[in-house]
Amino acid sequence: MAELTETQAYTGKRGVTGLWSNQKFQRGLITAVATFLCILGVVVIMFPVAWMISTSLKTEAAALQFPPQWIPKPAVWHNYWVALTSNPFGIYFKNSMLYAITVMVLQTLSSALAAYGFAKLRAPGKNLIFLFVLATLMLPYEVTLIPQYVMFAKMGWLDSYKPLIIPQIFGASYSIFLLRQFMRGIPRDYEEAALIDGASYFSIWWRIILPLSMPALGAVAIITFMWHYNNFMGPLLYINSRLLYPVQLGLQQFQAPHGGTEYNLLMAASLVTILPPVIVFYFAQRFFIQGIVISGVKG
């Protein structure tokens, strides 16, 4: 608590007068500067996206033209139709969603369980086990790829989502670590009170810890979703049938050797596939990030 007591001991220089020390002015200025920077940032971010859009609207010949044009003439909206009907993207999308959402829900929950254990409960050897959790992140997955594939082949799990989903639902080190860091910020007092009332640790986790961890759970859930939605190597190895493809394997269908890749179609399809997660994020972030102001820690 050293840092905080310092803060509380801090006494401001109230002698300074004028506009700069005016709280209202300060707040207004910060908002104005922040808004400006936000707009600037969006402009920068939008450059690559604009490029994607521009490429997606070009004919194949125009996409190869040099120097490249920013505004394609004519704009070939038909590309979107071609890109999305040349492959069963509806099915790919359904597959991706089922896969990513299942993992998101179950992994976030199981990670929250373990995170609570590591953050709040005392047990001999806990530090060592936690180091073990971290250690699983440290070995590059490329090296367990073949042994793992062999294992799932022996189990008869190939060409299904089992090897992509089932190992994931018991918790992920990354999420456990992140949630643990958050949960350690929750004051102990709540649990003490509940314990005295005879509540079990499980109900403390469910009734107190989870609601207080909402913003963190939201972040973990979104990150988990994105990771699996964008996962490429896993499906590449484990999925064979075309009708089981997730979106990321579907996008690969536009690639070709010797510069034959159809960039215009690739970009059109990519843009469409990033839309759903973006829309979901737009609504989810209100719930997760802004929602906690109500449920948030009241100190």
């Binding site: 010949a61 190869l64 040099f66 490249p68 790829l145 049938s241 010797h258």
Partner: protein, 472 residues
């Protein structure tokens, strides 16, 4: 396509799974080969590369027609990015997952490595048994994929390297087209540069620049520039047959001259775009497709990549010409690229027979024709060639096309990429030396090649020591 997997044991209890998980590796070492059940339908796994042009042929033509003709065989198509095939195939092989028909040159490390690893089935007995007609292939092609008298692959497509040119740019500048005959000795390197100079405009300007020519080490094959200067002994004589070598020779006068010329064309002659511009064009889809380069010495895959340009009203006509003589008497100037079908070694007889049926079907004159027409890739079979030339009729007279196209086979050799064992490790050395050399204005070929020769020879000896015994 879903049903075929249902034969697998899909449900095991968790305990068994757990035990298996820990013991999986031990299994992998001595796992059961072959794959598939003893009775019922045969399920063949056919691995191809992702390609929006090729895939419809495989999916919509080959599979339905083949399955109709062979009702007891079903085909599962695995279509994977060429760059990612290596990972998938290694994993499948480690797990002894069924994989039957594929091309060693699509992804992975190429034919040479796969043959030496014992991965490829000897097809000769099958060919004898079914009286396979070898006479219909372009002479010499089958030989590329044979070793010690055994055939390990059947060619599906082949193409040489050429001076590919943009006819529109030639017409605009009123420059004569290059010759068509590979033995026309007037087509010298000097003539090539001179032609390029007439076609170069606004050199160095990012948006208005037009370039007379561009050259690069074709497919990064170390030997390709020296060949143009008549140096055919970069590799020891038997290297392409055995897949191994103890050294390369590239510090001789002709090799140095060739690399220096490839460098000078940018920095001294200033008729070729700088590496930055080349990568700029390549990032968009290719140097020739951009329409900003008049001539390019390159593998002939532009023939099918650029096929669309011919019919595009804003496009341009392409032509192919021989690669110029760097030095008089340099005969073998072309690098050829031939992709074969192969069958995994060690299959059970039923699966081997079925796989051979598929390969025979794929290279049957009928399918080879459909493949050629659908994809625009050049066929490996003689009798299809006249029809292939007709595709380019609008731009080149078929007889001229014939002279140049076929001349590449009599005046060239297969790429080392397909034949030298562990070529990728050598490629890594070459890339890392070529890139700084070609982008440095003052770099000297002699210095670069010295390093390359030393490093490559060392690596070759390492590879030989590691892999040669395994061949027995």
């Amino acid at each position: 396509m879903n049903g075929v997997w249902s034969r697998r044991m899909t449900r095991r209890d968790a305990l068994k799974a757990m035990a298996l998980g820990a013991a999986a590796l031990a299994y992998s070492a001595c796992g059961a080969g072959g794959g598939g059940s003893a009775s019922g339908k045969i399920r063949l796994v056919w691995m191809v590369r992702n390609d929006p042009v090729e895939n419809p042929w495989e999916r919509d033509v080959v599979i339905p027609q083949f399955e109709k003709r062979n009702p007891n065989i079903s085909i599962e198509l695995l279509s994977i990015n060429q760059d990612d095939i290596a990972v998938k195939r290694q994993a499948m092989l480690a797990a002894k997952e069924p994989l039957h028909v594929w091309s060693p040159n699509w992804g992975g490390d190429g034919f040479g490595s796969d043959r030496v690893r014992g991965l490829l089935q000897n097809l000769s007995p099958l060919m004898r048994r079914s009286h396979f007609d070898t006479g219909r292939f372009i002479p010499g092609l089958l030989d590329i994929y044979s070793a010690n008298g055994n055939q390990y692959g059947i060619p599906q497509l082949t193409v040489g390297s050429y001076t590919i040119y943009n006819k529109k740019l030639f017409d605009e500048s009123g420059v004569d087209y290059p010759p068509t005959d590979w033995d026309d000795e007037s087509w010298t390197w000097e003539k090539f540069i001179e032609t390029a100079r007439k076609l170069t405009k606004n050199y160095g300007s990012v948006d208005k620049g037009q370039y007379g020519a561009t050259v690069s080490v074709i497919d990064n094959d170390l030997e390709s520039p020296p060949r143009i200067w008549g140096q055919n002994d970069v590799w020891p004589k038997d290297a392409f047959k055995t897949g191994f070598a103890t050294h390369v020779t590239c510090t001789d006068e002709r090799s140095v001259a060739s690399y220096q010329a490839f460098h000078d064309i940018v920095f001294k002659e200033k008729v070729a775009p700088s590496p930055a511009i080349v990568s700029a064009l390549a990032n968009l889809g290719g140097t020739m497709p951009s329409g900003k380069v008049a001539m390019e010495i390159q593998g002939g895959w532009d023939l099918w990549v650029l096929k669309g340009q011919i019919s595009d009203p804003n496009g341009f006509c392409i032509g192919i010409a021989p690669i110029p003589f760097g030095a008089p008497g340099a005969k073998l100037r072309s690098v050829t690229f031939t992709d074969p079908w192969s069958i995994t070694n060690g299959l059970s007889e039923r699966y081997l027979d079925a796989s051979w049926k598929l390969v025979e079907f794929l290279v049957s004159p009928e399918q080879a024709r459909i493949y050629m027409e659908k994809t625009g890739t050049p066929p490996a079979q003689k009798e299809l060639l006249p029809d292939y030339y007709k595709i380019f009729e609008k731009c080149m007279k078929p007889e001229d096309m014939k002279t140049t196209f076929e001349g590449a086979f009599t005046h060239g050799r297969e790429s080392s990429n397909h034949l030298i064992v562990k070529w990728d490790e050598l490629n890594q050395i070459w890339s890392n030396n070529f890139d700084p050399f070609f982008s440095g204005a003052s770099s000297r070929a002699a210095d670069m090649l010295q390093t390359v020769e030393f490093q490559t020879s060392n690596k070759l000896q390492e590879i030989r020591a590691e892999w040669k015994p395994a061949q027995a």
